[in-house]
């Protein structure tokens, strides 16, 4: 599904990813943990095509295709989804309009006709139930005045509607209280499927109590420092990141 080889990336003059190697199989859920500044969000941004990041070396294959050669919108149409750590507020564009535009862009790419108005309503009401969202939500401006929890729920809701084959969740747990975290996690779990791979990017182990990964990687100083099973996350929770080779970041401050 996803194969990252020797990926180097920088922001302006600062090299952040220094040779990431990572393979995610079809239907697998991988967690990427690591201290602040280790390059987690950069990796997510590079996969989604954020223009801020410049790839200097290496390659990324998505379903055998060169992901880095695709524009961000093409990646999305091909089934890559990034759940943002900080979703953007866009007052004046309703959630409904925005989602319909996104769904239709994906459909056109696949040679399908634009979605019928009734089908669209049915599609979104089904997915809204999954995330416990109410009707008024669709009429509101995109993320306009949403609380942190609502924004994160909206990200997972969009993922549910767009049905990606590769989802990258960037710090989806950050800023969530335990109730909101449960809602978001159950949404994500409902979307797990043998056809869908996921990359969970998180600082804390807490999220992994609710979304249990198949593989855990530790990103440190721009490289994968350690890979293991789900028990690796628990080990990190006990020892912190400080024990890792080449780690400069602080140990996680919070405990779930």
């Amino acid at each position: 599904m996803l194969e990252i080889r020797n990926l180097h990336a920088r922001v302006a003059d600062k090299e952040i990813l220094k040779g990431v190697d990572l393979t995610v199989g079809k239907g697998e859920v991988h967690a990427i943990m690591g201290p602040n500044g280790s390059g987690k969000s950069t990796l997510a941004g590079v996969l989604a095509g954020r223009p801020l990041y410049q790839v200097t070396e290496g390659q990324v294959l998505y379903e055998g295709k060169d992901l880095l050669a695709m524009k961000p919108e093409v990646r999305a149409r091909e089934g890559v989804f990034l759940a943002f750590q900080y979703p953007v507020e866009i007052p004046g564009v309703s959630n409904a309009y925005f989602l319909k535009a996104a769904v239709n862009a994906v459909r056109r790419h696949r040679g399908l006709e634009e979605i019928d108005a009734m089908d669209f309503v049915n599609l979104i009401s089904e997915k809204m139930k999954l995330l416990g969202l109410d009707e008024s939500f669709m009429k509101r401006g995109l993320n306009e005045g949403f609380s942190g929890g609502e924004k994160k729920r909206n990200e997972i809701f969009q993922m549910a509607v767009l049905e990606p084959r590769l989802a990258v969740l960037d710090e989806t747990d950050s800023g969530l209280d335990i109730d909101a975290l449960r809602v978001v996690a159950s949404g994500v779990n409902a979307l797990r499927s043998p056809e869908r791979s996921m990359l969970l990017i998180t600082h804390y182990q807490r999220l992994l109590n609710y979304i249990v990964p198949d593989v855990v990687h530790v990103l440190s100083n721009g490289r994968i420092a350690k890979t293991g099973g789900k028990e690796l996350a628990l080990e990190l929770e006990r020892t912190g990141y400080a024990g890792l080779e080449g780690t400069v970041g602080p140990a996680p401050a919070g405990r779930a």
């Binding site: 989604a48 095509g49 954020r50 223009p51 524009k71 961000p72 919108e73 990646r75 999305a76 149409r77 989804f81 990034l82 943002f84 979703p87 953007v88 866009i90 007052p91 004046g92 564009v93 309009y97 925005f98 319909k100 535009a101 996104a102 862009a105 994906v106 790419h109 401006g141 969009q158 767009l162």
Partner: protein, 449 residues
């Protein structure tokens, strides 16, 4: 060797005045006096230059050097009704007065049912048939001040709307005043003049449209005077869609009685050079004013918005938001002033100007300003000039939306903050269309909004 210089433009207008107005013996003497005071003021002021603070960013040299011809008085010749269809508002049920090149066009105008005593008529006709109604009010709200275009309008005013809503009358349907300019061989000018009077506890919705058919140079120089009685409610909209080669200078003056509520939306889309002045004054306590503006410019368009909000009385609230979308090599000017007089305690005033620059060659001069002479007030002002947020564009692209549509959506969203405050739904829809039709892929977005 001597070179014959072009005639001085001020002399040319004075000469025109002598020819047209002084020789016209049909008007009441008081109208003649008003006109004479106008031309005298204009003679004293002349056209503004770069040293005039109020015209610092807007050169009117192209207007001053163009010899404009004025239509003769009287009713306008008829034109096919379908020519004005694009400038009406679809299913909107409204009364409509149409003026062609400054002259009333009765065949294109119609009145729907109006509450008893409400008058919606041609101002020239009222001056002719019932001058006593107009005399005490004309040129009282938009007084002759330092604005030479107001002086010119007062000297040459042709026609416009007279709307009088008596005390307690609620006019539920909008009144649409449509000023149409049609292209001519030579540059032409019209000087529309409107007088809108709202009695105490009355309510009125007005739409003033200034439109032009492309293909000719012309000048529209309009003045609208509005007096709003105690506790009355006015919803005013100005839609400026002049032709591509047009000059548009407009001024509206509003005096608000105690407890009155006024909302003004000013939308500027057209013209080569446009200047729009809105002056409002609270003439009683407890008044509320919402002043909204939008200018969407492209190419070489230049639009200058000047607003003056005079908190002359205590306990009034004003909220002003002007937004500009500037593309191409267009130029925008916002100059806003809020004056809070010495006794105007408990004033709440908020003034904001925001500009979205779509092109490196576009330019804007934004000067918000507060002058506070009272000490117990809440006043804020601010202005911003920025580009589309790259994070927002990326967010939309990450959801499969192409970058062009993303930019159009974000631009539309920026402007929609103003448009969505328009309560008259068919007008709001039309404004959405106008906005989106100027943006790439806007048509496809409009269909699914």
């Amino acid at each position: 060797m001597t070179v014959a210089s072009a005639p001085d433009p001020v002399d040319a207008y004075v000469g025109e005045f002598d020819r047209l107005v002084r020789e016209d013996g049909t008007e009441p003497l008081w109208v003649r006096k008003v006109r004479e005071s106008g031309i005298e003021r204009f003679r004293g002021l002349g056209f503004p230059g770069p040293k005039d603070e109020a015209w610092k960013y807007t050169s009117v040299a192209p207007i001053a050097r163009t010899p404009f011809e004025m239509e003769p008085r009287g009713e306008a010749p008829s034109i096919p009704a379908d020519l004005i269809d694009p400038f009406t508002f679809g299913v909107l049920k409204c009364s409509q007065l149409v003026f062609l090149n400054g002259r009333f066009a009765p065949k294109l105008s119609y009145l729907r049912w109006l509450p008893e005593g409400v008058r919606v008529r041609s101002l020239a006709e009222v001056v002719r048939t019932d001058p006593g109604t107009v005399e005490p009010r004309l040129s009282r709200t938009a007084e002759l001040d330092g604005n030479p275009f107001t002086a010119l309008n007062t000297a040459f005013m042709q026609d416009g709307a007279f709307i009088n809503v008596p005390e307690g009358r609620i006019v539920e349907e909008a009144i649409h005043l449509l000023f149409v300019s049609t292209p001519h061989r030579v540059p032409t000018v019209s000087h529309p003049r409107n007088l809108v009077l709202l009695g105490d506890n009355s309510q009125l919705t007005v739409i003033e449209s200034y439109v032009g058919l492309d293909g000719g140079t012309y000048l529209t120089n309009s003045v609208t005077e509005v007096a709003v009685g105690a506790n009355a409610v006015l919803d005013h909209h100005k839609v400026q869609r002049e032709g591509a080669d047009a000059y548009h200078v407009a001024r509206m003056d509003v005096v608000q009685g105690p407890g009155s509520g006024v909302t003004c939306h000013s939308m500027a889309f057209g013209g080569a050079l446009a200047r729009n002045d809105v002056n409002t004054r609270f003439d009683g306590e407890g008044g509320d004013l919402v002043l909204n503006g939008l200018y969407a410019l492209e190419g070489r368009q230049h639009v200058d918005n000047h607003t003056l909000i005079d908190h002359a009385k205590p306990n009034c609230t004003s909220s002003e938001l002007y937004k500009g979308v500037l593309d191409g090599g267009s130029r925008g000017v916002f100059y806003g002033k809020v004056i809070v007089r010495k006794d105007a305690q408990k004033t709440v005033a908020r003034q904001t100007n925001k500009n979205l620059m779509l092109s490196k060659d576009a330019h804007v001069d934004s000067t918000p300003g507060l002058e506070i002479l009272a000490n117990d007030v809440k006043c804020t002002h601010g202005s911003s000039i920025g580009q589309l947020d790259p994070d927002a564009i990326f967010y939309l692209r990450s959801r499969a939306i192409d970058p062009e549509t993303a930019r159009t959506l974000l631009t539309y969203a920026f402007a929609a903050e103003i448009v969505r405050q328009v309560k008259v739904a068919p007008l709001r829809i039309k404004l959405d269309q106008l906005l989106l039709s100027r943006l790439p892929r806007g048509e496809s977005i409009r269909e699914s909004l």
